[in-house]
């Protein structure tokens, strides 16, 4: 047994987190900043933060992840990190020549009270930012929220520091991507293009973290939302924020600074959430939905109907990030499955409200928890008490899955031991189809593995 010390008996813990279902803010900020074209993320803290975040993102994507650090030492921690950041900005523009440096803070620089707004202003005043280049920042203290919060804070920083309102509206819609994969962002762009709606998607990590092998390392890959697009987002007709925790804060910022109205939607994972996305985007863009999309949808519903017997009543445990778990839970319910245990380390009352709405009628027995104390250790204990048929979550789930001999689907962040997430989307109807295929494969492989010889089926 890998997790041999995990007991069945659940005891409330208030001091110790075991096997967290979250990580810290700065990695989310780094990921978001990579979705801006020509941007170098910069971690204002100890070298270790930057190294850990780059390593984790690299393992997840198997792609270069470039970012710089203020390389704090004890001196900087005592006297403040301003000198380090100013020096870093100078070095970065002369050596790595980005269009943008996106600085995020860490628990270290936040604890000592470094004010990024003041330091970045000073850098600009001192002429350390060359003409035509940009320096933006986001405050991302690791002791508040989670990696999702950090993502949201950087996306908000991007929106509020780039968007300008020229007074003339542009016939385009902003889509603010919640935390999703490059493949998902690519699919959002494809769907918008099929719908015929011009969008500004940000951030956009497609063609950044799924870059082709070309024999050359592109320090700034071809993807990412451009500065011009970001600036124009202030003139867009409206914004759709995909995810109330990871995307909505940026939409609010845009409404505040440029009076762009917004609507918050779920990340379009699964049938119903995708329906809402397509409806909202077609309405925002004033277009009718083309048959191509209706046919895509029909294919997904077709599979759901044809294979329903293998899905019905299956008990699922899931863990991950709120903006993904909410639509995923809804999708599992649409599939007639039973999401019985749900855990997310990211705090926030919106999660609880949404989950209550979704679950109260259909599976009132579901246990779900988020924020402090909602960790994978607790989830595992629940699973030990009332076994499940399927586990869905990031790569760390494989330890529980092996110990409990439960089929396991990798979903969320980080996925360190398989590929695919950066290439094949989970969003949209095609993403839904991929998810159903994965779920069916996991469940049906298990049925095949466990079937008595006389019950072994050829046709399923």
């Amino acid at each position: 047994m890998l997790l041999r010390h995990t007991s069945k008996e659940v005891k409330e813990r208030v001091g110790l987190t075991i096997n967290p279902a979250k990580t810290c803010q700065p990695i989310g900020a780094m990921y978001a900043a990579l979705g801006i074209h020509g941007c170098l993320p910069h971690s204002h803290g100890s070298q270790g933060c930057c190294s850990y975040h780059r390593s984790t993102l690299t393992r997840h994507y198997k792609e270069p992840v470039m970012a710089a650090t203020s390389s704090f030492t004890e001196g900087a921690s005592v006297f403040g990190g301003q000198a380090n950041l100013l020096a870093a900005i100078e070095t970065i523009f002369s050596v790595y020549d980005p269009d943008i440096i996106a600085v995020h803070s860490t628990c270290l620089s936040e604890t000592i009270g470094d004010d990024l707004q003041q330091i970045t202003r000073k850098a600009k005043d001192d002429g350390k930012v060359p003409e035509g280049k940009h320096l933006i920042f986001a405050s991302t203290p690791s002791f508040i929220g989670s990696h999702v919060t950090g993502y949201a804070n950087m996306v908000t920083g991007i929106a509020s520091q780039f968007a300008v309102s020229s007074g003339i509206k542009k016939n385009q819609i902003n889509i603010i991507a919640g935390w999703m994969e490059p493949s998902d962002m690519r699919e959002i762009k494809r769907l918008s293009s099929v719908l015929g709606v011009k969008i500004v998607l940000f951030p956009d990590t497609s063609d950044v973290l799924d870059a082709p092998q070309s024999g050359k390392h592109e320090f700034y890959p071809k993807g990412g939302t451009t500065v011009a697009e970001l600036q124009s987002s202030g003139d867009s007709l409206s914004s759709l924020a995909l995810g109330c925790i990871s995307a909505e804060p940026a939409a609010i910022a845009l409404e505040k600074c440029c009076k762009v109205p917004f609507k918050t939607l779920d990340i379009p994972i699964g049938l119903t959430a995708t329906d809402r996305f397509i409806m909202a985007l077609s309405q925002a863009g004033g277009v009718t939905v083309p048959d191509e999309i209706t046919a895509d949808r029909g294919r997904l519903v077709d599979v759901m109907a044809d294979m329903e017997q293998y899905l019905y009543g299956k008990r699922v445990a899931l863990f991950g990030d709120p903006d993904q778990l909410v639509p995923l839970t809804e999708f599992l319910l649409d599939l007639n499955m039973k999401p019985v245990f749900i855990v997310s380390g990211t705090p926030g009352q919106r999660f609880e409200k949404r989950m209550n709405l979704l679950l109260n009628e259909r599976t009132p027995e579901t246990k779900f928890r988020n924020g402090i104390g909602a960790d994978m250790f607790l989830l595992h204990q629940w699973m030990k008490n009332e076994p499940v048929d399927l586990l869905i979550g990031n790569s760390y789930g494989k330890y529980m899955a092996r110990d409990e001999d439960v089929p396991f689907i990798r979903f969320g962040f980080p996925i360190l031991d398989r590929i695919g997430h950066s290439y094949f989307p989970n969003v949209g109807y095609s993403g839904g189809l991929r998810l159903v295929e994965k779920i069916l494969n996991a469940l049906m492989d298990r049925q095949d593995r466990d079937a008595l010889e006389e019950k072994f089926e050829l046709v399923m």
Binding site: G15, T17, Q47, S51, S70, T73, T111
Partner: protein, 544 residues
């Protein structure tokens, strides 16, 4: 032409590496980029701050302490006191394998423990939460030991992890609780954390169990973290030879082994950088000499086994070592003979760790490959130039902050295993007793030595030298591979290994052969890119 490819004018290379830097940065970096001469061994600037903004390979003190040295321990509940990230990122990512005797034995390696500090803990202090966390860990697991690791904010807000640990240790009575002040900002790299870890393990663990260990030839394995099962292979060889491993620091180790380590008669050191402090302290307190060995490479393994036998001075052991080498060598030889024609003459670059960039050169030598440039991520001058430079190393402000334990001979347990005269005689036989010659002595003249290589410099080096393989870590892996050059991870081994001992050498030969000769590197360009344009290609098909 070939020689020029292997060794372009190194002084010009150096100029090229620093030309894009601002003047001050260039001046500083120049001192860390050195053209090697194994006879003279020039000075390399090392263990100094990385310039802010430079994209470095380096991590932090916490990574060196919790991640490297204590991470491989399986029966200590390692609680990270801080916001969640630090514990999360160090969770199972270093591939420290461990094998318990039974399924019931303690093994916390698959777990991640954190106090998950929140804003109110930063504002009002986190000690209370830490003590609750320790209590909860104790109640849940009843472990032999609980260790506490401080992250950046902990030192800044003044939480006293040592006092909290002491208090809980006294309260429990049957659980050793101790803390490490390994905040990420200490020192200039992971290296500070190694030192802090050595101090803590020495203070709180070594010497707690005086039961004499059994066995005739008893040693500890220092600086072996069992990544990819490296320690398992060394254990296999020791077993075969009849050497008793009292404790490893810290791959596949247990608390009771470490607590009993001072009953061994020799410390062999693999990773000099991360554990040399322990060797020195155990020598001073208990009279156990340490010896630098290297189990990376088949020839190096044989050499190291012979040195160990020589140290114990036992004819039977020496004979047994020869028997084992003779037994193990044929399969190694068979593999290398088959592979060598495909690897011979190729070039490698190694920029990794504090010892690995040295050790792995032995394996490349065995493959007939030349190391054209190498450097460490977090080493000190002694790892490059040899320990004879130690007295001359200037202690700067960053190093001064790392505690140097004052160690004196133990009034009861100090027992010099060898007399001064015996040690001198052993040294004359070529044994690196309490000493290490460093990497540069082994590297060829005109090869390049670069400390704390930056991303920019690595791209330049690759452009200039076009090496056949580049060795570094995960952050560099896909950058270099995008350039069409295979990168071998020497922290995680690309999830393979072991690479130590005889079996490890065979694994490494095969992996490098596979990597440098993989057909994928020739498939990067699409046919139409090679042909210049699509139309030309189509036309040629038509005429075929």
């Amino acid at each position: 032409m070939e020689a020029n490819r292997i060794f372009p004018d190194p002084s010009k290379v150096r100029e090229e590496l620093i030309q894009k830097y601002p003047a001050k940065v260039a001046k500083k970096r120049a001192k860390s980029i050195i053209v090697n001469d194994p006879e003279l061994i020039p000075e390399v600037q090392a263990n100094v701050r990385t310039v802010p903004g430079i994209i470095t390979q380096r991590g932090c003190s916490y990574a060196g302490c919790k991640g490297v040295v204590l991470g491989p321990t399986r029966d200590i509940v390692n609680i990270v006191h801080g916001p969640i990230g630090c514990s999360f990122y160090a969770w199972l990512t270093r591939r420290n394998q461990t094998r318990t005797e039974s399924l019931m034995d303690e093994n916390y390696i698959p777990y991640c423990f954190s106090t998950d500090m929140q804003e109110e803990n930063i504002v009002f202090g986190g000690e209370k939460k830490l003590k609750i966390a320790i209590q909860e860990a104790y109640d849940l697991f009843h472990p032999k030991s609980i260790a506490i690791f401080s992250t950046c904010p902990v030192g800044l807000i003044g939480d006293d992890v040592h006092a909290a640990s002491r208090e809980m240790k006294e309260k429990f009575g049957d659980c050793n609780v101790f803390g490490f002040s390994c905040e990420g900002y200490r020192g200039v790299s992971q290296s500070a954390g190694h030192h802090i870890a050595n101090n803590g393990v020495f203070k709180h663990m070594v010497g707690r169990n005086n039961t004499p260990s059994e066995g005739k030839f008893k040693l500890n394995l220092l600086g072996e973290y069992n990544i990819g099962g490296d320690a398992f292979e060394i254990e296999r060889i020791f077993d075969k030879v009849g050497i008793t491993l009292v404790s490893s620091f810290s791959g596949n180790s247990t608390v009771s082994q470490i607590e009993n380590a001072h009953t061994a008669d020799l410390n062999v050191i693999l990773c000099h950088r991360s554990i040399n402090y322990m060797g020195d302290m155990m020598e001073t307190k208990y009279g156990i000499p340490w010896m630098k060995v290297n189990f990376v490479g088949a020839e190096s393994t044989a050499k190291s086994l012979r040195k160990i036998a020589e140290y114990f001075g036992d004819e039977e052991l020496k004979a047994r070592v020869e028997e084992v080498i003779a037994e193990e060598s044929p399969k190694v030889k068979a593999v290398i003979e088959e592979i060598l024609p495909r690897t011979k003459g190729k070039t490698a670059m190694l920029f990794v760790g504090g010892s690995r960039a040295h050790h792995y050169q032995d394996l490349f030598n065995e493959l007939g490959m030349t190391t054209v440039a190498a450097g460490y991520e977090f080493a000190h001058r002694d790892d490059y130039e040899g320990r004879h430079v130690l007295p001359g190393i200037k202690i700067d402000a960053d190093s001064k902050n790392i505690e140097e334990l004052k160690v004196v001979p133990d009034p009861e347990l100090y027992n010099p295993r060898k007399t001064e005269a015996e040690l001198v005689a052993l040294k004359e036989k070529g044994l690196e007793i309490n000493s290490y010659e460093g990497m540069m002595k082994q590297m060829t003249k005109k090869s390049l030595v670069v400390d704390d290589l930056s991303h920019y410099e690595s791209e330049k080096l690759i452009e200039i030298y076009k090496p056949d393989i580049f060795c570094a870590g995960i952050k560099e892996k896909y950058v270099v591979q995008k350039m069409g050059i295979p990168l071998k991870q020497l922290h995680s081994y690309d999830y393979g290994g072991p690479y130590t001992g005889f079996e490890g050498a065979v694994n490494f030969y095969k992996d490098i052969d596979r990597m440098v000769n993989n057909p994928v590197w020739k498939l990067i360009k699409a046919p139409w890119e090679k042909a210049g344009n699509g139309a030309g290609l189509a036309a040629s098909y038509v005429t075929q």
